[in-house]
Each structure stands twice: as C-alpha cells, then as structure tokens.
Amino acid sequence: MISLTRIVKATFLERSRRLSYWALIILALIAAVIGYPRIKGPIKVFVLEPNLFIQASNPSWVPVSVVLVLGLFLPIISYLFLKNTIGIDDQNHTNVLMASVSFSKIKYIGGKFLANCLLLFILWIVIILGTIIMVILQFPGKFIDFYQFLTPFLTLLPGIFIISMLAIFTEIVPFLRGILGIILVSFFSLICYGVSIENYNSFFLKIINPSGSSYLFKMIQDTCVKTVGQPLKQTMLLSSGNFKETGKQTLFFLPIKFTQQDLLIFIIQLIICIVMLILAGFIFSPHKYSNKIRKNSIPINLVHDHHKLKTINSKSASSSLLKTSFALLWRPLSIYNKLALIILWLTAWLSSLAIKQLIILPLILLTELPLLSNLGSQITQFSFYQWLMTIPKAQNKQQFFEYVASLTFTLILFLPFMLKSSYTALLLVCFSIMICMLAQVLGLITKGNRMFIFLMVIFCFIYLNGITNLLPINKLNPSVCLVYLGVTLVLFLIKCSLKQLIK
C-alpha cells in the first residue's frame, strides 16, 4: 500500500535535487531584486500616480511591488516547472512498475499535488527572504510591521494550490498534456491578472485568479482613497514610459485586510482543487496499451551472407538531411496541430488586413509553437546530440539543417502576411530568423522547450492585447528589423560559444 507521505517525500526530493529547481530558486531571488519599485532606468517597475505621490518613499512599497510583478509571471513559470510531475515517472519508467501493481490513484495524485505545493511553498519563502534583504538594503534603519510586510505575500498562497493542481490536471487530461495546456493555463493566468486591475471586487475572479492580484489592486485603491480622497488614475507596471515625478505626498500602503469572505474564497479554492484532483485520480492510468502489432516476427537466419561493405566517399547528402529535418519537425505534431496550422494558413489568405495582423498572426505563432519548441531540445532527448559528437561535423550539420527547415517552414506560414508590402516581408523574415535561432539556442541550453514556450506565450499574449509594436507589420519601423537581427547575432554567438565550451 502506497503511503501518501512517501510519495510526497520521493517526488519532492526528486524535483528539488534537479538543477532546474535551483535555477528557479535563483530566479525567485533575482525576481525579488527586479521587483523592487525602481523608477529610474529604461524599465519602471512600479509607478503609482507620479504627479501625486513620491515613488517608493518607504519600505511598504517593496513587498507590494515585488508581489505585483511576481503575480504576473510566477504562476506561469511555476506551472511550467511543475508541468511534468507525472511525466517524471514515465521518463524513469516507474510507470511500468505502477502498471504492474495495485495502488490508490487518489493517494498517488494527492502525493504529487502536495509535493508540488511544498516545492512552490519553498519558493515563496525564498521570495519573502529576498524581499526582506531588498528592504534592508534600500531602506536601512527603516522597518515596517511584519504582518504588513507579509500580507501581500499571503495573496500568493492560494495560487500555490491552484497552480499545483493545474499542473497535475493538465498533465493527466490527454488533450491538455502538450503545449495546448501550457498556452491555456498561461493565457488564463494573464487574463485573470489583467481583468483584476479593474474588477478586483469580483468574487468569482478572486476564486479563479492564481496570482491573487485582486487583493493587491483593491488594497492599492483603498490606500490611495484613504490618503488623497480619490481613486487611482495612473498605475504603471514594468513600463518603459517616461514621466516626471512631481508628487509630494508620501503613500504608505496599508496591510491587506482579509475578511471572512476571503476565508470562504480560500476554502472554495481548496475544495475546487480537491475535486479536480479526485477527478484527475479517476482519469489517471499508468497503463499505456498499444493495439499495434509490431512486425517483430522476422526469422533470424544464422547462415548469413558475407557481403563486404563497400568503401564510401564522403560526398555531402544535403537534400537527404533537409528532407529528414523537415520530417523531424513535422511528424511529431499531432493531427490536430497540423490541421490547425493548415486551416489558419488558409484563413490568413482570405482574411482582411486587420484580422490578419491582430488575430491570425499570433494564432499561427501559437500553433507553430509545438514545432518551434522542438528545435534544439528534441535532439537532446534520445541520447542523440551527444552521440553526434562522434561523427565529424555531424552536430553542426544537424543544427544547420534543422534551422533551415524550421526557418523555411516559418516563412511559408508567414507568406500570406508578407505579400502586403516589402517592408512587412523584410520584418517577418527578420522575425522568423530570430525566433528559430532563439528556439534552437534555448533548447540546447535548457535541454527542454519550456523556456521558449514561456517567452512566446508572453509575446503572443501581449500581441493579442493590442500591443503590436513588437511586430509592427502595419507601421514602418525599420529599427525593429535591426533589433531582431541584432538579437539573432547575439544568439548565434552564444551558440558558437556553447559549442566551444563543449569541445
């Protein structure tokens, strides 16, 4: 009989000893630094009515700013990290053992869930510690009440349960297992965050929002009203805008007051998590049967022919490499992904300009994500990349043809958009060159695809919300082309350095 605590312990130890978890811890510490309410520099982290208030004038700003910034990204990053909680047992073939014994699936799922919560809880502690250090460094000698410091962080706690649950649930439900699950959860988190800015009192939103941002935005509004008698008009988060800080008033954030309704909301969230986990427990099965009959009945004949192997010339077989590279990118896609790409591509030819730019283009990018995310990372699976080291120039050839195949594919997908103008064509070519290189480099460095998926999901989300400056196909802006080419060059240099390091 499987003990819940042993599942929690084993899963926790397995995950926490991986390099990726330590990278996440370091990222959390850095996030506490980045989340500090900086008002100088190209990116203004957190700005509130600069014409009214003195920005970041006291320590109460620090936890609010850190949690606001983290609330935007942390649910997605945490989700991406926890995504293969069940998959680990597939990778190390523990699922085979599980399939051969009788065990409680609910306990198994529960154990995985609790281990996820524990991993994120430690991360939460690290963020708090990092923020304390920032307060001490930026406001030496000044302190705030610990409860006041802590309340913004408490809003992240329900998200730990929600994200831990979602990571498991989406892994078990077949059609949510792949990139579709990642995109849906990421968009869900970002939309909840965005909507909570105005609708922070919504009961339903507070239940489903994994970032807890509703509480923070409400507290910020309440503090503002209490201080100056009027609601907020201007809030900037991670803004590149310029402004003059002319405010004279000190804004001291109040601690978040949690009511009985908030406790009820938390209980509802826990109940939802438990229900979803029980449902996941019913759906989950370690048995993966294939009805395919393998063509294995080939008679072995011990009396074999003594054909001598012919001497081979070292002539390049580029067309074969390119053809196989295409196949390696296209074949792993599901039938639904392939259909979606074809349908979107055909729709792009028939759509108006506005719809093309605002909707079809980012959707094509998102649908192409499973293909692009295999660049660099697919080859590190199945022991292939290291083995290629034993064949002269094979790693370089493989990388080159994989890149060419992905670039060709991306350019074909962008063809309906490129015919508008030569500037648009140039812009999309530069963009394609850049994202294929980015996917490949990130895949090689991280030996996975989650980092690239995260970046592209954020990019597409921002684009779908009308911020099209990242890819201005309707506005003449040649500097964007230069930026993309510059980024490509940097990525290429990183790739070359990686190869040198490996040598």
Partner: protein, 287 residues
C-alpha cells in the same frame, strides 16, 4: 590500425572512475572489455570515442593523439552507446539515411550500404516501420547498423546485446567478429558468452583498474586447477555458496561450479575452466 592508450585516468568529483589505464589494441580480432557494472567500461569507451576527455593520459590512434585531435578518431569511428540513440518518428530506413547523410555518405552509396546492413541484421522487412514501434532488440540492431554505416575502421560498441534474445546476440557477435579481422572492434559486456569463442583479446576491468589484458587462452591458464564442480540433488536448498561460477540443472542433479584454490568439498572434482570461470576468478581475487 593501432590504438595506444597511455596512463588514462578520470575522476568524477572525488570518485576515481579510471585509474592509470594502459592498453595497446590492434585490429585482427575482436577485443572484449569485460567487468561488473560500475567497473568503468562505458567511461573508458566514451573517452576512446572522444565524448569525454581524460584528466590524465593520452590516446594515440596510429600515432596521433586523439585527446588533442579528436577529429582523427571521429573520421574513423563507429560508436554505439549503451543507450541507443534514435528518433521515434522516423522509420528504420529514414533514420539510417539520415545518419548516412550526417556522415557525409552520398545518396547512392548510402542506399546500397543501408540495404546491406538491414539485410545483415534481419531488418529488411521492417525498414518502413517507425522506430517507436520497434522492440528494444530491433532498435539495438538499427543502432548497430547505424554504427557500421560508412565502414568505420574503429568500432566501439557498449553492451550491444542488452535486451536481445539469444539468436540476435549470436548474429551481432558474428557480425562484429567478422569485422574485427581488419578493423579495431571493441565490445564491452558483462556477459561472457557474448565474446566467448570470438574474442582474440580480453580486457578485464574492475573499479577503474585493469586486472587482466591478454588472450583468452592465457586467462584460462591462470585458473587451471582452480575450477571445481560437484553435484547437489535437485530441490536441495542451496545457501551460503561462495565463489560460484555457475549452477546448471542437468539430468543427474544440480551441477555447481566453484572457483577455489583448494578442493571445496569431498565430492568436488577438478574441471577444465571456461572463460566465465576465469573472469570470475580474476574479478573475485583482484589479480
């Protein structure tokens, strides 16, 4: 071709994986690298294959130091690691064509080479099947076929018979033995029968150190008069047996072979040693 390994050592952290390895290898016969799990066989092969660099020592292939100039080895090398690399979405023939292309083999020559190898390894009828649908043994054979593409002069295979049934193991053994006549072929295994009767040189590795290097005949001579056999009744509980080389069920009972300097019991008789007995004796005694 000559492969000269001099004073090669490697540590992982504080753990000494290979300790001052010295070997001189030639073509002319299959070279068997045997040792228990964790002996350092795979690490040694990865160093020779230029995937890992030793901390100390050099490796010379026909006089060229391949630690400094790995390309010299790579242009002549066919290496099959313990975990067979493959692409699950490619068919066998597509995968081999891909590897041939990466090795720089022209399409025409690759076609005939691949057909040859698929036939040799009894995969010709499955050439259009995806590798994901192959059994482990079939994937292993595809891996070996990929290794032999391009007629490499140095062939290194790391436990190639894992997961193969007895007939498949014999096929691979025979193919590699045939190639060893004019190639350097190093086969690592912990199953002695893989190399029995085909190896011209045996290297016994334990805990990163070479315990023996030489011909199988000389290895067998070392344990002459040290191998004993006695028969126990069927269904007798056998416990507290030491230095047992094999236990086989025969008509007259359970035959137990033991390695010992002195007669282990009154019923034991001295028997002609087999390679398995000899390697066990070396591994147990450490010299």
């Amino acid at each position: 071709m000559e492969l000269d390994i001099k004073n090669v050592s490697l540590k992982f952290g504080q753990r000494l994986i290979l300790d001052n390895i010295n070997l001189n290898l030639h073509s002319g016969g299959l070279i068997g690298l045997i040792g228990p799990n964790g002996a350092g066989k795979s690490t040694l092969l990865r160093i020779i294959s230029t995937i890992l660099q030793p901390e100390k020592g050099s490796i010379f292939l026909d006089g060229v130091d391949i630690v400094k100039y790995p390309k010299k080895m790579r242009i002549s090398l066919g290496y099959l690691p313990q975990q067979v690399p493959y692409y699950p979405h490619l068919t066998a023939i597509e995968y081999l064509q891909y590897i041939a292309a990466l090795k720089g083999i022209s399409k025409k020559q690759a076609r005939s080479n691949i057909e040859n190898l698929l036939t040799k390894f009894h995969l010709i009828n499955a050439k259009n099947t995806k590798l994901a649908d192959f059994s482990g043994g079939m994937r292993q054979r595809v891996g070996i076929a990929a290794t032999l593409l391009g007629d490499p002069k140095v062939i290194i295979v790391d436990e190639p018979t894992v997961g193969l049934d007895p007939l498949e193991r014999v096929t691979i053994r025979n193919v590699l033995a045939e190639m060893a006549v004019n190639h350097i072929v190093i086969l690592s295994t912990h199953i002695i029968s893989d190399i029995e009767a085909v190896a011209s040189k045996i290297i016994v590795l334990k805990e990163g150190q070479i315990l023996y290097t030489g011909s199988p005949e000389r290895l067998l001579q070392r344990v002459t008069n040290s191998v004993w056999e006695y028969t126990a009744p069927v269904n007798q509980v056998l416990n507290q047996l030491e230095n047992v080389s094999s236990i086989t069920q025969e008509i007259d009972g359970v035959h137990i072979r033991v390695i010992s300097q002195s007669k282990p019991n009154a019923e034991a008789v001295n028997v002609t040693p087999r390679l398995e007995d000899a390697s066990l004796a070396i591994l147990e005694s450490g010299d």
